[in-house]
């Protein structure tokens, strides 16, 4: 029974840890399926987190903060698009530039606004997303097995967690069941086919990076106004890259990416809890190994040892009409 409870707690933490990864991985998917590499997830997430925390602090509402985060990340997406789509610049370089830029920019503006070493002031309850108790959670709380699963695991998360998990089937539906999704996937595979079908490749790719911006904005807001209570310098700490890895690991598809995010989230949650713990028989757990696992797994996948990850064919290439 105690072990069961531990598992529930760990899974509960996994949901919380995976949420920003899921949103960012979906964001990456929208961008990359349309042919634009998005290494800028890290920087965008950071920008979103900062905008959310700063605006929520002034406005006193997490929703206003969320909108600000989305606005900020859309702006960054457009910047990325301006460099990669309009100016046909190198997509990798543009992504790195945005990551580095945001690392400095958020701190700089944070210091200028709040003079707290780049942090934003701690948010009070009203300015943060609060846990939601699902209907009937209290009632079933004491039912064995099901009770803890419903009450501990599924209930009691903030709205962004539920949005993230809802976003996966929604993204799948948009991607595979709508006109927009069809065109988006087509533009990432063969932009020529889209162009000759009378659809603007440039506009299509811009729309895709804007979708990307909306999603990654939410993941940033989650970090600073839902999971945490303020913005901290470089608070994403590589989560954007993990999300990118999860997207690759999920082979640019929503549901596999979700499972990759859950796996990576689980590893992170487990690593956090194993720090300094001495397990009987094993001794001290090398937490760094657990933390490095997502990256190692992704490299192994990319090496083609566990299935092939085939990226969209036109990924990374600006569309130039051939002569």
């Amino acid at each position: 029974m105690e072990n069961f409870e531990l598992v529930i707690l760990l899974l509960d933490a996994t949901l919380r840890t995976s949420t920003p990864l899921i949103l960012a991985a979906l964001a990456g998917m929208f961008s990359e399926r349309s042919g634009t590499i998005n290494l800028a997830l890290e920087g965008m997430m950071l920008g979103g987190a900062f905008a959310a925390a700063a605006v929520a602090y002034y406005a006193g509402s997490p929703w206003v903060g969320l909108l600000a985060a989305i606005a900020a990340t859309i702006a960054l997406s457009l910047l990325h698009g301006f460099a990669c789509i309009t100016h046909k610049g190198n997509q990798v370089v543009s992504g790195m530039a945005i990551n580095i830029l945001m690392s400095g920019f958020t701190a700089l503006v944070g210091i200028a606004l709040f003079a707290q070493g780049g942090k934003t002031p701690a948010l009070d309850k009203a300015s943060r997303f609060q846990p939601i108790t699902l209907p009937g959670a209290e009632a079933v709380r004491d039912v064995p097995i099901l009770g803890p699963i419903y009450f501990e695991l599924l209930s009691g998360h903030n709205i962004l967690v539920y949005i993230a998990f809802f976003a996966v089937p929604a993204a799948w539906w948009v991607m595979y069941r709508t006109r927009f999704g069809l065109r988006l996937r087509a533009v990432g595979e063969n932009p020529g086919a889209v162009d000759t079908a009378g659809i603007s490749v440039v506009l299509m790719r811009y729309r895709a990076v804007v979708c990307s911006g909306v999603l990654v904005g939410m993941s940033g807001a989650y970090l600073s106004t839902a999971q945490g209570a303020s913005f901290l310098q470089d608070m994403t700490a590589g989560k954007g890259y993990i999300a990118l890895a999860a997207m690759v690991f999920g082979k640019w598809r929503p549901f596999p990416a979700l499972f990759a995010c859950l796996l990576f989230g689980f590893l992170d949650a487990a690593a956090t809890r194993l720090q300094g713990v001495i397990l009987p028989g094993i001794g001290e757990v090398p937490v760094q190994l657990v933390q490095a696992l997502p990256y190692v797994l992704t490299v192994i996948l990319l090496a083609g040892f566990i299935g092939r990850a085939t990226p969209p064919k036109a990924l990374g290439r600006a569309y130039v009409k051939e002569r």
């Binding site: 069941r177 709508t178 006109r179 927009f180 999704g181 069809l182 065109r183 996937r185 087509a186 595979e189 063969n190 020529g192 086919a193 889209v194 162009d195 000759t196 079908a197 009378g198 659809i199 603007s200 064919k313 009409k321 051939e322 002569r323």
Partner: protein
């Protein structure tokens, strides 16, 4: 051959397309010069011209892919302002591009509806599209599984998807850009039957090609382009291949190059049961066996994509052999196991590849840098560890002088040379090493007329100097005028061999379609 001569029933009807004074420049290149063109409704209209004559540019303007700098487009007598593909589609124009514009990971149906999905959510549109697609397939006998993944289909079927795409969009005018370049003669014949059906249904077809045979076989009218200008319009029934080719080139071309008898010596290259796979593991060359002797030119003919490229690349050490062996002067040089392009070069194999831009040139390099590609290890170009740029410059200048490369500046970027001059530089690099064996693919593709003769002469001169030459070309004229013996490839197999004396287009054409040489000669005898 399926024949479809013009019916001559064209006349007072409103032209389906009328272009007036279309003009287009790409930087310094004047691609279209004040072009006028009328295409009558319900006809198949051919546009011929050499590579680079401006045919594709003109059609891309019509399809809204490019904007003309000047001139007007009229469709069914109405002035159309075509700014993009969507305008062309709205005007009832469909286009089948030379490189298919298909999404390979999508199904046929998804490809067809792309851009005309019929609603924000796919489901409603898809069901309607399926019904409509089945109707079109029946009507034009374009059999295809709507749920097949396009990437799995053969090239011929992919082309059908392109045609269906256009028809699904309600195209009344269908433009086909070099549609047979990747097809076997049989597939091409099937295509022409489809085009005939389209014509019967009242559609207008514009066929762009540089193959006169197709023009004569399939079109009602033909327009000829040369160097960006429209030089003639003819009724197909009232013209001849000779006239058309003269119009295309601008002067009577020597179809047969003046050259002496071959004087073959010892066997230089011996290929035994060679098999070559492409990157996807598909076998492209199947048990090829042949020899090339010193002092002869062996030509390999075939529709492009039938394994010639892979064969040439394998012999050049770029691809590995999967099976079989290759002997050079009786020494094993089977590509793969330790034998790469560098090793073959050391043993006296020179290689002028088919695709100069992709393979033989680094366009970002200067001429002198490009002039040592493959020979950078040569002691003549190296001091103990450093490259001797002084010696390289001198060698490059020498190449430029010998092969009349202009401008003769070794420090100019390779990209700034014309196609012909780039090709001459490549030939110079390869030939001036005095190799035992010259592998040469499509030596005159994208090369201006003047340079073609020069290049042909240099290849013959190689032969006359007692070297072995293996020539791959899809241009039958070129093969027939240069080669002493001709091998024909179809679907990776060497169908047979014909001597230069007994070769003609008919026989080669049948063999290219996979007909056994003896049978082909017999058919030819009956005709």
């Amino acid at each position: 051959m399926h024949q479809m001569h013009g019916t001559g029933e064209t006349g007072a009807v409103q032209p389906a397309i009328e272009l007036r004074g279309i003009d287009k420049r790409f930087g310094a290149v004047h691609a279209n010069k004040e072009i006028d063109l009328k295409v009558d409704k319900g006809t198949i209209h051919g546009i011929v011209g050499e590579n680079g004559a401006g045919k594709s540019t003109l059609m891309s303007i019509l399809y809204g892919f490019y904007q003309a700098d000047g001139g007007t487009i009229h469709v069914d007598g109405k002035l159309c302002d075509i700014k993009g593909s969507e305008d062309a589609i709205a005007a009832g124009i469909g286009m089948v591009h030379q490189h298919f514009m298909l999404v390979e990971t999508f199904s046929v149906l998804e490809n067809v509806i792309l851009g005309v999905e019929g609603g924000a959510v796919l489901r409603d549109g898809v069901d309607k599209a399926r019904v409509e697609l089945e109707r079109l397939e029946r009507e034009y006998s374009l059999d295809i599984d709507p749920d097949a993944i396009v990437g799995d289909l053969s090239v011929g079927l992919q082309q059908r998807v392109e045609i269906l795409k256009a028809l699904y969009r309600g195209a009344e005018i269908l433009i086909l850009d070099e549609p047979t370049g990747v097809l076997t003669p049989q597939e091409a014949d099937h295509l022409f039957r489809i085009l005939a059906t389209l014509k019967e249904q009242g559609k207008t077809v514009v066929l762009i090609t540089h193959k006169l045979r197709e023009i004569m076989a399939a079109t009602d009218n033909v327009s000829v382009m040369r160097q960006g200008a429209m030089v003639a319009d003819r009724k197909t029934a009232q013209t001849s291949p000779e006239e058309l080719s003269e119009l295309m080139v601008g002067r009577r071309v020597l179809l047969r190059l003046e050259k002496g008898e071959a004087n073959p010596g010892a066997t230089v290259l011996q290929v035994n049961d060679l098999c070559v796979d492409n990157a996807q593991g598909v076998r492209k060359v199947k048990n090829a066996s042949f020899t090339v002797r010193a002092g002869e030119i062996v030509g390999i003919a075939g529709v492009s994509g039938n394994g010639q490229s892979e064969l040439l690349e394998a012999l050049g050490g770029i691809r590995s052999a999967s099976e079989g062996s290759v002997l050079l002067n009786d020494q094993d040089v089977t590509p793969g196991k330790g034998v790469d392009a560098a090793e073959l070069r050391k043993r006296g194999v020179a290689h002028v590849p088919e695709d100069r831009h992709r393979m033989a040139m680094v366009t970002g390099f200067t001429a002198k840098e490009a002039a040592i590609l493959g020979y950078e290890d040569d002691p003549a170009y190296n001091n103990s560890i450093l490259l001797d740029w002084h010696a390289i410059s001198k060698a490059t200048a020498n190449m430029m002088l010998e092969f009349d490369v202009r401008p003769d500046d070794p420090d100019l970027k390779a990209a700034n040379f014309s196609g012909g001059n780039q090709q001459k530089l490549v030939l110079a690099r390869e030939i001036m090493r005095d190799p035992e064996l010259l592998l040469v693919g499509q030596p005159t593709r994208g090369v201006d007329i003047g340079a073609i003769e020069f290049i042909h002469k240099r290849i013959v001169a190689m032969r006359d100097a007692g070297k072995a030459v293996l020539l791959v070309s899809v241009e039958l004229d070129e093969i027939m005028s240069l080669a002493d013996r001709i091998l024909v490839m179809c679907d990776g197999v060497i169908i047979g061999e014909v001597s230069a004396a007994e070769a003609n287009e008919r026989v080669l054409g049948l063999m290219m379609a996979g007909v056994d040489p003896n049978e082909a000669k017999a058919v030819e005898g009956q005709a």
